[in-house]
Symmetry: C2
Subunit: 452 residues, 2 copies
């Protein structure tokens, strides 16, 4: 049998991140200040982020050096493994060659620490002692807590209260790494206290948690704020994954015809495909297809307009040009919590607008079915998010069976589902249902997008 795994020696781990902004055929629309409608300046962002990250956010340099201190932490689990899915191929009886790059071997079990570690490092270097953030299901909060442990930073996580109560395992992970996690709304901020005064039983929302984290950060000189997806510098840090994958595919003697990944804010999948899309932009690989998979219940790219909108529910952030379902949109309660976001990384949206990537929306029942097939062949129990991508990989592999084509399909696998077992239980016991995007109930904020 051909190899099952392709592993890169840690001494060959990429030492630079790839910045796609250097290679875009048209420049990315700028981020705008909501008050002025003009592009934000570094100074506008300085209360929230260290200057190095702000520079990266705006840089058009193609390559950005990964600091040695960050590389040292990456080596705790990186480079990650590229797998050939022999057993999945066999069960599907497909001539397609399926590869997957697996990010579940990091300490928190996902791709998230690729940026959490970098962000913690630059904050530490600027003398910051404390970072605040928000988290939904807890994947991001646990990754940042891990990063805080690496650089001796205090991490304060505002976790949406309903998740805080329903998903204690992620909160405990944060605490094991020394992070502090409070349910949002909390009594620690004015935004939280105001909400609790109105509704003591408020279940919370990601938007409110962002408001609390931002208020906390700007109110203290020793504190910054951190975001786990969407922004350019976050996608930049994730390109370590795609750069490794390119080297590994070369070792495997293959190049993908199709790359598939799930998108919530977009950072995991962009991190994998950006180093490949360079070959499409420069004409080397004109036929490369890149399929972004989102939930049918939250079909940002497949159904939203391309417009300027806020990144958060409360309207505190600068305005980002993106596909959006409206910053007030609250997605149905699908189990893939990491894909429940009204907007999308501006870089992915721009590439979609330019016709360089495609998008597809999937219902959750079919994605869990695909996840079970994957677990019973490849062993790995995936998080509900990558199950969305696995569904599309299986579809494409079965098309190859029909057509007799032996395409090479590459899956961006963002992480394991060890702390998402309740979702599988609901699926296996028939308690899960599908949700459509509520067309009949378009969010008000979508009808009245900020005019800039």
């Amino acid at each position: 049998m051909d190899r099952t795994k392709f592993v890169l020696d840690e001494k060959k781990m990429p030492t630079r991140w790839y910045n796609v902004l250097a290679d875009l055929p048209e420049p990315l629309p700028p981020v705008l200040h909501p008050a002025t409608g003009k592009p934000v300046t570094p100074d506008d962002l300085a209360p929230l982020f260290p200057m190095e990250l702000i520079k990266q956010e705006m840089s058009t340099e193609r390559w950005i050096e990964i600091p040695e201190e960050v590389q040292d932490i990456y080596k705790l689990w990186r480079p990650t493994t590229l797998f050939r899915a022999h057993r999945l191929e066999k069960v599907l009886d497909t001539p397609a060659k399926i590869f997957y790059k697996y990010e579940g071997s990091s300490p928190p079990g996902s791709h998230k620490p690729n940026t959490a570690v970098a962000q913690a490092y630059y904050n530490k270097k600027e003398g910051i002692k404390r970072i605040t953030t928000e988290t939904g299901a807890g994947q991001w909060g646990s990754a940042l807590s891990f990063a805080g442990a690496c650089f001796d930073l205090e991490i304060k996580v505002y976790m949406v209260r309903i998740s805080y109560n329903q998903k204690p395992y992620r909160r405990i992970m944060m605490e094991v790494w020394g992070g502090k996690c409070v349910p949002s709304p909390s009594s620690d901020t004015k935004a939280g206290r105001d909400m609790l005064a109105k509704d003591p039983d408020c279940p919370g929302s990601l938007g409110l948690a962002i408001s609390e984290a931002v208020e906390d950060a700007v109110s203290r000189d020793d504190t910054h704020y951190s975001l786990g997806s969407v922004l350019n510098h976050v996608l930049l840090h994730q390109t370590i994954n795609g750069l490794e994958t390119k080297k590994l595919m070369e070792i495997a003697g293959a190049y993908p015809d199709i790359i598939v990944g799930c998108i919530g804010g977009g950072s995991n999948f962009a991190g994998l495909f950006l180093p490949f899309i360079r070959d499409k932009i420069d004409g080397t690989k004109p036929d490369l297809r890149i399929i972004n998979v989102e939930p049918a219940s939250c079909p940002t790219v497949t159904r939203g307009p391309y417009a300027y909108d806020f990144g958060d529910e409360a309207g505190l952030t600068p305005l980002l040009k993106m596909y959006t379902l409206g910053h007030g949109f609250i997605p149905p309660p699908v189990h893939a919590g990491g894909l429940r976001y009204h907007g999308m990384a501006p870089i992915i949206c721009h590439l979609h607008k330019l016709g360089l990537v495609e998008a597809r929306a999937e219902h959750q029942l079919a994605t869990f079915k695909a996840g079970i097939t994957f677990a019973r062949t490849e062993g790995i129990i995936s998080a509900p998010e990558p199950d969305h991508a696995i569904k599309v990989v299986i579809d494409e592999a079965l098309k190859c069976k029909e057509s007799g084509e032996s395409k090479t399909i590459l899956l961006a696998h963002s992480g394991h589902g060890h702390v998402d077992m309740a979702a599988y239980d609901a699926y296996l016991s028939g308690k899960l249902k599908d949700y459509d995007y509520p067309y009949e109930k378009i969010d008000e904020s979508l009808k009245d997008l900020p005019s800039v």
Copy 2:
């Protein structure tokens, strides 16, 4: 900085298991039939196990070929990585060099599938359709369910009812891989029904679950029984880990002065140290120290007599010569469920009796403290079982700091704690306590061991 990780190419994965029975300075005491007091014959064991496994149980051949089909499955996650714990060393400020071989990257998150996959294969080859087993906290049941998915075998797991109710994640994992899991006592066996008639609320015990699994297996021609630790063939399969580690330590240019691992039934640690102990037996490495770590609440090797006893609570199994706390002993409810066993692998006991390995007992609070230190330096959140070994590794590294010696310490790390977060929560919130071995309440079965 020196390397963080040492990785073996899958093409260099060992293709044979190592059988220490070929190299023992004195032969292992035989397994006895409880009725006759004579050594058991292969025919005695045939209703429960396939003949290939029975042969392995009794073999004194030094090397046993790993079937290609088993190697193919191993390659889904093997060879596993050897880490150098640079960050832990730094925090401890020790001149010791600490290495750990990590088995948490397997699909179920532990070393258990090393034998589960092999056992499933040999059963499949003998025409068996179905395997029964018992599980406590669920680590073994989930590994066997994964192995069943690999070879299309039906797996039926009798899970101790109190764990079934308290630890649903492991049960769900089994179901994702297609295993069937019922709480024990169940209404599926006479043993279970009898107990339910006596006590409908019976919380179950590992002994009763074994009785159910064995009764189920012997009552059907298409069904066998499987055990996840203790027996010679289980330890044999686990030696894949130690053989890899030997090769990797060579690549690292190091040889351990001290090897540390936790022992419940003993299979994980024996799997790592057996290929090394060969060097001690033949005089090449006379000073090699091998430290077995067990819970202070269940101090089998450090406090039990060396005698023939049953492997299970109900007295159904053959008699094994081992250190034992009495087959009726129910260990205190420490969180390291995998270490709560009254007996120990006969191979480990024999080596201890011969003075080739040592043993140490640790209280759980100190082990969780060590586990947190490990998580905040090396990233990995460990299961409560390997936390016991980490505690001793830290102690030995601090002794090196005192003495100024730069010893090489190798840790057998059996797996992650992603589904054990409740234990860390209890520790961090101050709700955990230590348990001593109840000397004042020696188990009756220990006072009246079988006379053979």
